[in-house]
Amino acid sequence: MGITYFREPQLENPILVASWPGIANIGLLAVETLNDQLQTEELGEIEPMEFFYPKKVVIHNGELRDLEFPTSRFYYKRLKERDIIFFIGDEQPAEGGRAYAEGTKAFKMASMVIDVAEKFGCRRIYTSGAAVSAIHHTHDPRVWAVPNSRSLIDEIKRYKNTVIMSEIEERQGQGSITGLNGLTLGVARQRGIDAICLMGEIPVYLQGFPLPYPKATRAVLEVFGQVLGFEIDLREMDELVTRTEEETEQLFANFPPEVREQIDKLKSIIPAKPAARPITEEDKKKILEDIDKLFGQEPKGE
């Protein structure tokens, strides 16, 4: 078992963009949008049996016809400036009901993605996910960018609406990225390949709901547009943002008044502008503690 290639094109200076499902599928939706808009061709896939439990059985007239597994597929597109490979995972190879991959299987899958990157000569990899953050849903989300090499930081700082960990309040450059969107960065580093994870911010109190958060996906796509040097059509995403904002407001209106009151205090925190912060650090700490108590969650990267 391993990787099946549907074709083996000669690619020019390619980059690889990968994503797996995660919180609100922020990164996955961004990568799927790019993949769709570029009308890519299938390149290959990681054989699923070793990693996944099947997702569907098809029985016809009493005969087992098919067993479908989650897919982990590569696509490619030749572009003027440089070619691009996408990797889209249907699921993370998690066991025991966990949402994120970990352990040997996670390492193996991340390694196989990097194997493909190396085979086609990729010298740059991007992954994408969600950044659970102490922001209010009326704020415009930023994109947290985590490189696997210090030499990439100057490049990241040139991208609009992007912050590195040391620019995020109280983070002091520290944090973690859960699951394969993070692990792939580490495996790339081990092999000497530059990689960056782009994570769109989602309010801490929305991370547990089964809703997309396209505002963050849109922010990630804008960064990808700068990275890749082409214009991304955001019209469909804008429509999705409008629809989801209505759903988010309805959800928010159903929170108990005391919860809404606490959450609304987050409106006063202006991200990435510590000097302009109109509430004290103590206030902020209290707000986050109260929200944590209400939702049993804490801010983190995914």
Binding site: Y53, P54, V57, V58, I59, N61, G62, L64, L67, G96
Partner: protein, 276 residues
């Protein structure tokens, strides 16, 4: 096989056999209950087992009915009937490797002629409704081996969104890829017996296996277990007019509300719990 990935208890080799597979934690304990009964009846002996580490969480143990449990995956052999029985807990990870090991383990001892898979299928019918077994085969040719009045082999099914295929379907698919014919048998289990034993369902599949493998089983003891269970249900109905009314509606094919179904489940599980 390059290396043995299971624990051998007996290195015996024989020509060929059929393998029957059942899982613990099945609706009505159908797979485990019927195979465990069969194992004792046909004098099976332990041949081999799969060690749990790597397939089951080893960070805690479950306690059930006051007793600590531990996952087990054991292969038994009945030499007189050329039958292999595999009884196992459902693994929670590395399924593909585990299921291939099941086939490797059975194939170590003999050539596998066929694999039968047993499982319960929850229905909204009552226990007094006649049961019909449904079968799924790995290839159309297998149908002729199992067809009979009591087996429905015309099922159409696709896993609904949000659900996953059964371990039996996964194992049958692997067996098919390895060229071993297979048939899965689904025994209807009344919803209120899904969490407890359903001996009438066991009897239904055991009668089929008895005939298929010419086992010559005497079910008198199982009949007694069934009668005792049904007597408890009848007593509960006699003592609880509302419950009896719900059962009457169920028996006449009426659809009950989820709350009414839950009421039946709570009452029946209470009267059938161990020691009651």
């Amino acid at each position: 096989m390059s290396e043995i990935s299971f624990k051998l208890h007996d290195d015996v080799k024989f020509e060929c056999a059929s393998l029957i597979v059942g899982w613990y934690e099945d609706s009505g304990n159908t797979g485990y209950g019927s195979l465990n009964y069969l194992k004792d009846k046909v004098n099976c002996r332990l041949l081999a087992e799969i060690e749990p580490a790597g397939y089951f969480p080893m960070n805690n143990i479950l306690i059930s009915d006051d007793v600590a449990q531990f996952p087990e995956s054991k292969l038994y052999y009945c030499p007189e009937k050329q039958l292999l029985l595999f009884l196992s807990s459902s693994p929670s990870g590395d399924w593909y490797k585990f299921l291939n090991t099941v086939i490797d383990m059975a194939s170590y001892h003999c050539r596998l002629q066929q694999i039968y898979f047993l499982g319960g299928m929850v229905t909204l019918n009552s226990h007094t409704t006649p049961r019909q077994i449904s079968a799924v085969v790995s290839a159309a040719g297998v149908k002729k081996l199992i067809q009979g009045d009591e087996i429905d082999t015309s099922m159409d099914y696709e896993t609904p969104e949000g659900q996953r295929p059964t371990m039996n379907s996964f194992l049958m698919w692997i067996a098919k890829k390895r060229g071993i014919p297979g048939a899965g048998f689904w025994i209807p289990v009344p919803f209120y017996l899904a969490g407890v034993d359903d001996p009438r369902g066991w009897l239904k599949i055991l009668e089929f296996l008895d005939k298929s493998f010419d086992l010559g089983l005497d079910f008198a003891d199982l009949d007694k277990i069934i009668s005792a269970q049904e007597a408890k249900i009848s007593r509960a109905r006699n003592e609880n007019g509302e419950l009896d009314e719900l059962f009457k509606r169920l028996e006449t094919g009426q659809l009950l509300t989820p709350e009414e179904n839950e009421k039946i489940v709570a009452n029946i599980e209470e009267v059938l719990k161990p020691g009651s």
